[in-house]
């Protein structure tokens, strides 16, 4: 009985790895919180001491300056909060258009680099090597100062069809002004889209059941054109066109794409597409040639082979690096400050910061916005990546 070893007591001891692990976790949390609190408190104290007004109250004040491009109505007496919103929308606009165009161009160039046609192949190679290796800011400045600003002034603008005008003030085009028939038209477009969705489902089901293919694309296009066209015939034209006219200094009426937007979008598209092209090429290359041979031996023609066999497998390799290219594009849009496009950094972290002097608040808001935009893109792309990932059976 004496020799019986008593069960070890459950005591907290530093020799217990579990206890140590917890202790380090706690220390880390305390250190991080303390550091954050210290930075916050120190900043507050210093701001107060130097007599710098802090807080977000300034967002309610009237801005008092004009903005070249605003997607929502804006007058000089609107608040800084609205200026923020306009900057955000302008950033999102460039990012959205840029991502779509860069993806299209990138895919085309990426496939072209694998082409058997010598000229197409070499052209794509030159494109990638040139645009990938020039810093994006230089490309933006090039498109802006060397291309768009060298166009003639508005009084000597190049006109097309009497309603499109290209000048150093940008691209002026007719504006669509909604008429009474606009709502029925919108409803008819929605109807057409619903019809296309149902048609696609039916065609897919029939294909799986019987193997008989259906011309989904042409049928869809027909639905999309015929239903709204019928609607327009019944209710009348959904829009009337307001053609820009040269009046005084500039064109009045119609829509205008300002050269800052054109230069920025074009530069970012061309730059990012060069990277996307390489990603697409590597994705396609990663699918082994055996897949192509297998598809061909099953009697698939080159087109369907690419669309139904190669691309779906290549996408698994393409999507993750593609996400980071989209993030780069969103972040590079802040380079617009160099050419005066009114996006977040130029408008909010530039003009608003300077007019109000609220450096910390403005920069904090701006950083959070880019973080939010980037995380949204990441989440969206991760979701898509999961959807197309190879499901192993």
């Amino acid at each position: 009985m004496q020799n019986q070893i008593s069960a070890p007591k459950q005591r907290l001891s530093l020799s217990d790895p579990k206890v140590r692990a917890w202790l380090f976790q706690i220390i880390t949390v305390v250190a991080v919180v303390a550091m954050g609190w210290y930075l916050f408190d120190n900043t507050q104290t210093n701001l107060q001491h130097r007599g710098i007004t802090s807080g977000f109250g300034f967002l309610e004040n009237s801005a008092g300056f004009g903005i070249a491009q605003h997607l929502i109505p804006f007058t000089e007496s609107d608040t800084y909060a609205r200026v923020f919103l306009i900057g955000l929308l302008n950033t999102l606009l460039v990012t959205f258009i840029g991502v779509i165009l860069a993806t299209l161009l990138g895919f085309i160039v990426g496939v072209a680099r694998l082409s058997n046609n010598w000229i197409i192949n070499k052209l794509a190679t030159v494109y990638v090597e040139v645009f990938r290796n020039i810093p994006p800011l230089l490309q933006i400045l090039f498109w802006y100062f060397a291309v768009f600003l060298t166009l003639p002034g508005p009084r000597a603008a190049h006109g097309f069809l009497g309603s499109f005008f290209v000048s150093s003030r940008g691209l002026n085009m007719p504006a669509a002004i909604a008429t009474d028939a606009a709502w029925p038209f919108v409803i008819s477009v929605v109807l057409a889209i619903v019809a296309i969705v149902f048609m696609t489902r039916w065609a897919n089901k029939r294909f799986e059941a019987t193997g008989v293919p259906f011309h989904k694309f042409w049928a869809g296009l027909a639905l999309f054109l015929v239903i709204p066209a019928l609607c327009a015939l019944i209710f009348g034209a959904p829009v009337h066109w307001e053609v820009p006219e040269l009046k005084g200094f500039n064109f009045v009426g119609g829509w205008v794409l300002i050269p800052e937007l054109l230069a920025l979008t074009l530069a970012l598209t061309v730059y990012t597409a060069a990277f996307i092209a390489e990603i697409v090429r590597s994705g396609i290359k990663s699918v082994s040639h055996g897949q192509t041979e297998a598809a061909r031996s099953l009697g698939l023609r080159p087109g369907p082979t690419l669309r139904k066999v190669i691309i779906p497998q290549a996408l698994r390799v393409i999507i993750p690096p593609l996400t980071s290219q989209y993030l780069n594009l969103a972040k590079n849009s802040s380079l617009a400050a160099g050419i005066g496009y009114p996006e977040m950094v130029s408008l909010f972290a530039g003009t608003v910061l300077n007019q109000t002097g609220q450096a910390i608040e403005v920069i904090a808001i701006t950083m959070s916005v880019y973080l939010a935009i980037s995380i949204s893109i990441s989440l969206l792309m991760n979701w898509y990546n999961k959807r197309i990932a190879l499901i192993e059976r």
Partner: protein
């Protein structure tokens, strides 16, 4: 446990640091004297105010003002280091302590004076106002004819606000295109991106002189705002802001008393005028009261010149800018430059 203790120590130290750190009066002046030079924020290139010359030395009335402060504080006008800043960077640079003085054609307004942790000592280097520079091909004679015009403006300036005020008050429409630097604005005016460029009038003359064919551009007659341009310092050291203010007044008083860089040493030795004797430190303790040497004004005027000399050298008839004194003449010569007396 040792680790936890040290963490706690860090937290305690952090709290202590966060709660202390109140600067005393004179702290900035002490710091400047200790490091031995003045860090002066100037523009990113504005002829007449602050622009690098062929040898890289910053020339202009704003740069010379900083040299005058250095002459007063150190007795040596060369003890200045310059930081070239654009309009957007300037206030943050001063708030963060990166520069000691901002002498960068900056308009004195109540909000800048009160809410940004900055203070305008009160000396106005140049009384200015916003105007318009237009291509003469447009045939515009007055700013009132600018309805629908596209206007190039430098981002983050009071000009942005004043233009908006003017067009709203006169019920005119305009499209603003804002750039970070004045060079970009000028390039855009030349390329025809904008119909007019707007800025402080002094800058318009300066920018016009930099264009490829200055003759094709006219400055419209209207002046649409008051833009008193002067140096700015950070809050928290009244001794230093007082020095900056009185360096400005010393420049004006020297001109008023007829003391120039050529005669200042002779005057300091032999003047019979009690006013000049006080100004130049031959009589009284006015320098030491400001925490400067007795001969502070002698050093300023000898090394940099009086206000009139500074103006003529950088902006006046002998320069490409050819700006007349106008409002910037002394109060007894038809202008509004007026300095309180040294006594």
């Amino acid at each position: 446990m040792k680790m936890l203790k040290s963490t706690l120590a860090v937290v305690a130290a952090a709290a202590a640091l966060g709660l202390t750190g109140f600067a005393q009066a004179g702290a900035k002046l002490d710091a400047i004297q200790k490091k031995g030079f003045i860090q002066c924020g100037v523009s990113d290139g504005l002829p007449g105010f602050s622009v690098p010359d062929a040898s890289g030395k910053i020339q202009g009335i704003d740069a010379d003002f900083c040299r005058a402060v250095a002459a007063a504080v150190f007795g040596d006008a060369t003890k200045v280091k310059f930081s070239q800043l654009n309009a957007k960077e300037r206030f943050t640079a001063l708030q963060s302590g990166e520069i000691d003085i901002l002498s960068r054609n900056t308009t004195w307004t109540s909000s800048r004076d009160a809410s940004m942790g900055l203070v305008f000592p009160g000396f106005v280097t140049y009384y200015d106002g916003v105007g318009f520079l237009a291509n003469s091909k447009l045939g515009v004679k007055s700013a009132k004819e600018l309805d629908g015009a596209t206007i190039c403006i430098q981002a983050g300036t009071t000009t942005e606000l004043n233009v908006s005020d003017y067009f709203r008050a006169n019920n005119l429409k305009y499209t603003p295109i804002t750039f970070d630097t004045s060079d970009e604005s000028a390039k855009s005016l030349e390329s025809g991106r904008c119909d007019v460029l707007t800025s402080d009038k002094s800058q318009l003359y300066a920018q016009r002189s930099k264009l490829a064919s200055p003759k094709d551009y006219v400055v419209l007659p209207e002046t649409i705002s008051k833009e008193p341009l002067g140096p700015v310092v950070a809050r928290g050291d009244e001794d230093f802001s007082t020095i900056v203010r009185w360096v400005g007044y010393a420049l004006l008083n020297a001109e008023e008393a007829g003391v120039t860089s050529k005669n200042v040493e002779a005057e300091a030795k032999s003047t019979k005028n009690p006013d000049v004797a006080r100004l130049l430190g031959a009589d009284g303790d006015y320098g030491p009261q400001l925490k400067l040497k007795k001969d502070w004004v002698v050093q300023i005027v000898k090394q940099v010149g009086n206000y009139g000399e500074m103006f003529e050298k950088n902006l006046g008839a002998g320069t490409p800018l050819e700006i007349a004194r106008g409002q910037n003449a002394l109060w007894n010569a038809g202008g509004i430059q007026y300095a309180p007396p040294v006594r």
